[in-house]
């Protein structure tokens, strides 16, 4: 029987995977996906806490977060498209116009 701790550990692992992805992956689309993984890890935390506390608030919050994540993905992909038009590349190391 999984307990709250199990869910929290699972979501912490997911969050860590997302964080590592942002730093380690060399493709901007994958980096955006990593941020989505982080947000979904947080969603899992909210649902787990909501269940443990016996309230639906946690699950309602998840709907808000999903909406925000969708809006963020839309804006993010639009920015990636403008970026791709200038450089024809998805490697973040190619974007070096701005430095320190």
């Amino acid at each position: 029987m999984p307990t709250l701790t199990h869910y929290l550990i699972l979501s912490a692992v997911l969050f860590a995977i997302g964080t590592a992805g942002v730093f380690l992956r060399r493709n901007v689309i994958t980096i955006l996906l990593s941020i989505e993984i982080m947000l979904n890890a947080v969603n899992l935390t909210f649902v787990a806490f909501g269940r443990a506390l016996g309230s639906v608030d946690g699950q309602i919050i998840v709907f808000f977060v999903m909406t925000v994540a969708a809006a963020e993905a839309a804006v993010g992909l639009a920015i990636v498209i403008t970026l791709f038009r200038h450089r024809e590349s998805l490697n973040p190391e190619a974007f070096t116009m701005l430095k320190w």
């Binding site: 955006l32 941020i35 935390t45 506390l53 963020e72 804006v75 639009a78 200038h86």
Partner: protein, 480 residues
Amino acid sequence: MFASFHAIVPMLCVTAAGFAAMVAEAFREKGEPMPIGPLGVVGLIGAAVSTALLWDRHATSFGVVTADNFGLFVTAILIVVGLLSLAISAPTVEREGLPRGEYYALMLFSLAGMMLMATATDLLVIFLALEVLSLAIYVLTGIRRDSQMGAEGAFKYFLLGGFSSAFFLYGIAFVYGLTGSTHLDRVGTLMAAQATSSGPLQILAVGLLLVGFAFKVSAVPFHMWTPDAYEAAPPAVTGFMSTGVKAAAFAAFVRVFLSALEPLIGGWSEIVWVLAAATMILGTVVGVAQTSIKRMLAYSSVAHGGYLLLALVSGNDTAKGAVLFYLLVYAVTNLGAFGIISVLETRDQANDRVTDYAGLWSTHPTLALMMTFFLLSLGGFPPMAGFIAKWYVFAAAIHAGYVWLAIIGVLTSVVSVFFYLRVIVMMYMSAPDADTRTTLPAVPQLAGAAIVISALIILYLGVLPTRVLEWAAASVSGII
């Protein structure tokens, strides 16, 4: 029945103006002139009137937005930021041929998000407001679609912004798990009850929220996006985001950390101490090395975030009042300075190297004089408003016993004077270099008026600050 809407009327006015701008652009015939900027001014005036009417009323909407005087003071700052930004933006929009409806609608939506963030009393609403303002700002940063630098800056800002939002949200999740609520009031009460036995979850909650806020107020070591985004965006947008985002984020920062999480102050005050010291020092030291005025002002804005953190760590009522006054002064000063950078820019040339300002005194004497005012105010010279603002922040820190932090603050502001003065010396004492000299454009009337008004405001606040200081001090009592 409509009583519960009272507290959000200022935001509704601004949002309505934003929608009107969007619809007006959609129905505009090609080439037909339409006063979309003035629509925003109408919305902001509505917001200003409703803010004045709500003053001292302590209205609450739906239990998650409270128009207390603290929130209303920040709303008033944001209205000033909005009006000045609209005036400064007008010539940029014309010159660069930017899509008017999009530009003004995004600016107004982002202002509405900032106002919501300043008055929200629920962590979830603070998060939503943060996203509303950030998403609009990401797009505004990259609004010059033909500019590669704009796209890169917008992407970096977006990436780090989204990343930090996830941390912030994770922090909210732990607060919810600990207290079963996201409402600041209840969080505060329950945190106070648990304060004696602080476990790992509390540390995680506070730490993650702190990372989220530190990103938004560009505190060191989370400031990497600041110079890039500030340099890439059109200067009018930079002026808007460097002041508006800071005001909104610091309002929420003060609300969350000095009310809901105040019971845990022993746990976070030392971390914020280190953040404040690092932010002041790095912002100043790296600022000295910059050759572009925009990047110099970006690092100066990082350093100013450090002074505000110094007030935050002091945590007493004097400090909260000092934060409000500082935010107002910083907003007007920085907008004025970026306004000048914005009017000196041409379509193909940014004209933002320090050497481009050589001999400005002989070509544009009024602009040079105004720039001198703004830079002296940023450096904290009397009789400019920046002096009074810094004075109050340092006084609050010493009063709270953070003498070393105040000393670091004073030392870094002395160093920062070096790079502000370098520009001033350049403007007055060097002759323009004949070879690299670019002809600077004539100043548009509206933006010029906004710049002069900003300068008058900082002179007024520097010479006769008492009334506004009293307002700021009075608005911090009863903050939720």
